[in-house]
């Protein structure tokens, strides 16, 4: 039988006032297995801890119980003290006789009796405790960053700058994301390209970063520290190492299609780079548009390509990598205008969204920064901006606030006014939300000094009316219906998770909220971690956010990765589920009970195994197991049964 020592703390008078500490010691001292019991005024003090350590050594104790405050407070303290003198820390248990006894009961006799019961129940638990040690895992100190927008770029650079390797995967031909599409950024009106491009170039030159653009993550296996990732590298039909982006191929390509980067406002050839500053600076052939790929109808680009980079026979490639941590930075898209039936159903060319307008404003955009409406190229003299288009509308569209639209709409109106001084911008809004450094001041400047008309109310309908667009809205401050004939309408459409992210997140088994954005481990205290260990979140994949917040969060995610990599080994709590192979009948009920996919079926032996690295130790599977084959380390059914017995006074 184990030799157990019990140490009852008086906690000054916090415990001793209502619990007769001496009586507890006396009673426990006679309890089977207890070879030593004593009390002290402050067990957690240095002399108290020393007393415990000496007793462990002197009495050759196999296990100790400290009857004191909640284990939340000092379990760690006492386990560390035990470990220092060679007692396995999992042989040290705490009986909570302060928070859950002395502080909540007044009658000394009752409180003392209850303290004895509590202590005995913990003794019973301890009696059956195993000596455990943390499960240590070797980890691959290489990170995968999914998404090459500003969030992914920042996270990749921060991790790589600390000396760890990074694989950055971007599904588009170039990194840069939506930030590369923006003209100027609020509230400082920095040119977006000018501040982003250096970071993009740094990615391409960084010795620790492996950039896989035009690629997608298709599968992730393994667990924290050792993920096996399969990445699909889509064929560009242009050899990356040979293309020097001379642009000769554009001149001969006969196929013109809308350019996605310009959101369809500009055009590109079937062989293209999305925008001049693209990284990597390599041409891509759009397989859907090119004439030469399948029926060999045209090979003009191949003919003119001096470095002979064009390769029509290129095949998709699967690249396999092992990484230790994954940063998910897949970003957002705007709610498609087709969803907004009342606002033209996405069919009217002059009803555009915020990113369209960014391209119109951009000096490198399809109109060289001159504001022209898409239908006929006319400079619009009356422009209506509709905030919350599809946002904050739980009945029909998105229930949430997309956070950055108030600010970018104010910026749009300001930049429009600067480009078209005789034009009149109107902004319909529900509320103007400007919680950010310098944001409120910027909004005041726009609304008070720049001649922008802010109308508080929603727009009910927009339709073509002759040459212009009829906008029906309401001004709730005057209570009047408003009708404006506009030349162009800009919808500040809400942000939604990026296209394809739903599938990706399901593939990675990452938890999402009801709107499809990634869930964080804790909304306040663990905002950049996912509930699944080893996954970290950056940017708008977690919810709409602006650039400063995205960069800060990406840095946070990166530092979490760096922190993890700087440990010698990954340590995992050993309070995990274990399976008794002799009892397991292979019914697989536990597999569905496990929220972490930590259980796998062994076809050969017809039993279920636990991957203890994935097991988080909730115990749901133990309760689900019909044959008692599964137990949780140090919280076994036997332990619970013995505790119940003692609690009930046996």
């Amino acid at each position: 039988m184990k030799r157990i020592g019990v140490f009852v703390c008086g906690c000054g008078i916090n415990i001793a006032k209502t619990v007769d500490v001496k009586k507890v010691v006396e009673e426990i001292g006679h309890y089977p297995g207890v070879v030593y019991a004593t009390d002290y005024q402050y067990m957690c003090s240095d002399p108290g801890q020393k007393m415990i350590q000496e007793a462990i050594e002197r009495e050759h104790l196999d296990g100790i119980i400290v009857a004191a405050c909640s284990p939340t407070l000092h379990e760690f303290t006492f386990r560390r003290a035990s470990e220092a003198v060679g007692l396995n820390p999992y042989q040290c248990e705490i009986a909570n006789i302060r928070e859950q006894c002395s502080w909540v009961h007044q009658d000394k006799e009752i409180a003392t009796a209850k303290a004895i019961k509590i202590t005995k129940s913990i003794i019973e638990k301890e009696r059956l405790n195993d000596s455990l040690s943390p499960i240590s895992v070797f980890m691959t100190r290489r990170a995968l960053v999914i998404g090459g927008g500003i969030a992914g770029i920042q996270a990749a650079l921060d991790i790589a700058d600390s000396g760890y390797e990074v694989i950055l995967v971007e599904k588009e031909p170039s990194i840069g994301g939506h930030m590369a599409q923006l003209s100027e950024t609020f509230p400082t009106l920095d040119c977006s390209q000018c501040i982003l491009t250096p970071k993009m170039v740094e990615i391409s030159h960084h010795p620790k970063i492996k950039l896989l653009a035009y690629s997608e993550v298709v599968n992730v296996g393994g667990y924290v520290g050792n993920f096996n990732v399969k990445i699909l590298k889509k064929p560009r039909y242009v050899k990356e190492d040979l293309c020097n982006n001379c642009g000769e191929c554009f001149k001969v390509c006969p196929v013109v299609v809308p350019n996605e980067f310009e959101r369809g406002l500009g055009s590109r050839y079937a062989i293209y780079i999305p925008f001049p500053q693209a990284v990597p600076s390599i041409c891509t052939i759009d397989a859907d548009a090119c004439l030469g790929l399948f029926p060999l109808a045209c090979n003009k680009c191949k003919e003119v390509c001096e470095p002979n980079a064009v390769d029509y026979d290129m095949k998709p490639e699967i690249i396999e990598e092992t990484v230790g941590a994954i940063v998910v930075a897949t970003g957002y898209d705007l709610l498609p205008s087709e969803e907004l039936k009342e606002y033209g159903n996405g069919r009217n060319p002059d009803i555009i969204d915020g990113l369209h307008f960014e391209r119109l404003l951009s000096a490198s955009g399809p109109t060289q920064g001159v504001i022209r409406r898409p239908s006929d190229g006319k400079v619009p003299k009356e422009v209506v901006f509709v905030q919350c288009a599809g946002s904050r509308d739980p009945e029909k569209h998105l229930p949430y606030c997309s956070k950055f639209c108030c600010m970018y709409t104010a910026k749009h109106a300001l930049l429009y006014k600067h480009r078209v001084p005789d034009g009149q911008p109107y902004i319909f809004y529900i509320d103007v939300r400007t919680a950010g450094k310098g944001y409120e001041e910027f909004y005041h400047r726009v609304s008070e000094q720049e001649g922008v008309v802010y109308l508080r109310g929603k727009v009910s309908k927009i339709f073509q009316d002759g040459d212009g667009l009829m906008v029906w809205g309401v001004d709730t401050l005057t209570g009047k219906k408003v009708e404006i004939t506009a030349d162009m309408v800009v919808l500040a459409t809400g942000a939604v998770p990026a296209e394809g992210s739903k599938k990706l997140f399901a593939n990675l088994k990452l938890a999402c909220d009801e709107n499809g954005f990634l869930s964080e481990a804790h909304p306040k205290l663990r905002p950049v971690e996912s509930l699944t260990p080893g996954f970290f979140l950056a940017g708008a994949a977690q919810g709409p956010r602006d650039i400063p917040e995205t960069v800060a969060q990406a840095g946070g995610a990166a530092s979490k990765v760096i922190g993890m990599f700087s440990q010698e080994m990954l340590l995992h709590d050993p309070i995990v589920a274990v399976v008794d192979e002799n009892l397991c009948s292979g019914c697989k009920i536990c597999i569905s009970a496990c929220p972490y996919d930590a259980r796998e079926f062994d076809e050969e032996k017809n039993i279920v195994r636990v991957n203890e690295l994935l097991c988080e130790g909730c115990g749901a599977c133990v309760a689900a197991c019909p044959s008692g084959a599964t137990q949780q380390q140090n919280i076994t059914d036997d332990q619970i049964r013995e505790m119940v017995k003692v609690v009930l006074g046996e």
């Binding site: 039936k341 009342e342 159903n345 309908k461 339709f463 073509q464 009316d465 002759g466 009829m470």
Partner: protein, 306 residues
């Protein structure tokens, strides 16, 4: 295909041309619409505009009789009846208290019910299981517009028609669930199946004023005038609609428009069933155009459809 059919009062009186043409077309399309026996008024707007349960008895009884006759669908033509019956049905399905009370109210004999030992909620109560179909919905979902297109003998090729939905067919959207309330397609697709040229105009889902034409006629007049002018501006020869109330406001009331809106030119307004009858080759003289204020015959002559 055989389906029970509920006409409603207006179709037997002021807009009988809607019923006669719709029934004639159904026959031509091999759909037997059998007028249900013992039908009563659906209650007009009252059943769903007030919370009083007694107002729901009339539509409830109609639906219950359909189920008792062993049918699970009911076709309506009038938008108002469609709206009232469909919404009542939803209330019956979702509100168990109202369902039970209405069933009790209409049970033949309370004592017999009690003596049978059945608890309320058991047995032959009506549970909202009948599917209420608008005639257009029947064409779309039961028959298919392809079948309509196949039956067309006289395509309405040159006719530029602006479809007008009004409110009752589409709203409230969650209850009616016929089509997208902001961007409906059913009438456009219907016109397409007959070969007509569809004119889309922004006012196609705006209200005609409904009963305001009785209490505040000037408001309804202004709304209807805007609707007609918008259709005209977008190139329409005529308007197509399905609701007797809209017909009254948009068509019959055109007689007063010239007085209030100088320069107003009357515009033909068709019931959807009249156009269908034309396209199916029925005798134009039998389509009740004589009841229109704005005579559509000259237009049809011009397009060589009569």
């Amino acid at each position: 295909m055989k389906l029970p059919y509920y006409p409603g009062c207006t179709l037997k009186d002021r807009t009988s041309q809607l019923e006669t043409t719709a029934l004639a077309c159904a026959e031509k399309l091999d759909v037997q619409l059998e007028e249900m026996p013992n039908w009563t008024c659906c209650g007009g707007v009252y059943p769903v505009s007030e919370t009083k349960i007694v107002n729901l008895v009339a539509p409830f009884r109609i639906l219950k009789e359909v189920q008792e006759a062993g049918d699970d669908k009911l076709v309506t033509i009038c938008d108002f009846c469609y709206n009232v019956l469909k919404r009542t049905n939803l209330i019956i399905r979702e509100d168990s208290v109202k369902r039970t009370r209405l069933n009790l109210f209409l049970s033949d004999d309370d004592r017999r019910w009690a003596a049978s030992g059945r608890r309320v909620g058991e047995g032959q109560e009506y549970d909202g299981g009948v599917k209420v179909l608008h005639y257009l919905e029947m064409l779309r979902d039961e028959l298919g517009f392809e079948a309509v297109a196949a039956a067309v003998s006289k395509p309405l090729e040159d006719l530029k028609i602006a479809p007008y939905y009004g409110c009752n067919l589409l709203r409230p959207p969650l209850e009616m669930d016929l089509d997208d309330p902001e961007d409906p397609r059913i009438m456009e697709d219907f016109l397409g199946s007959m070969g007509a040229q569809v004119v889309e105009f922004p006012y196609r889902i705006e209200c005609c004023g409904s009963f305001l034409s009785l209490s505040s006629p000037q408001i309804a007049r202004r709304l209807c005038h805007t609707i007609l002018e918008s259709a005209r501006k977008n190139g329409a020869d005529a308007i197509m609609l399905s609701c007797p109330m809209c017909f009254y406001n948009l068509e019959q009331k055109q007689s007063e428009f010239a007085r209030h809106f100088p320069g107003f030119r009357p515009m033909p307004v068709f019931f959807f069933s009249q156009l269908l009858a034309l396209a199916l080759g029925l005798d134009p003289a039998s389509l009740g155009f004589e009841r229109n204020f704005a005579d559509p015959v000259p237009l049809l002559k011009e397009k060589h459809l009569v």
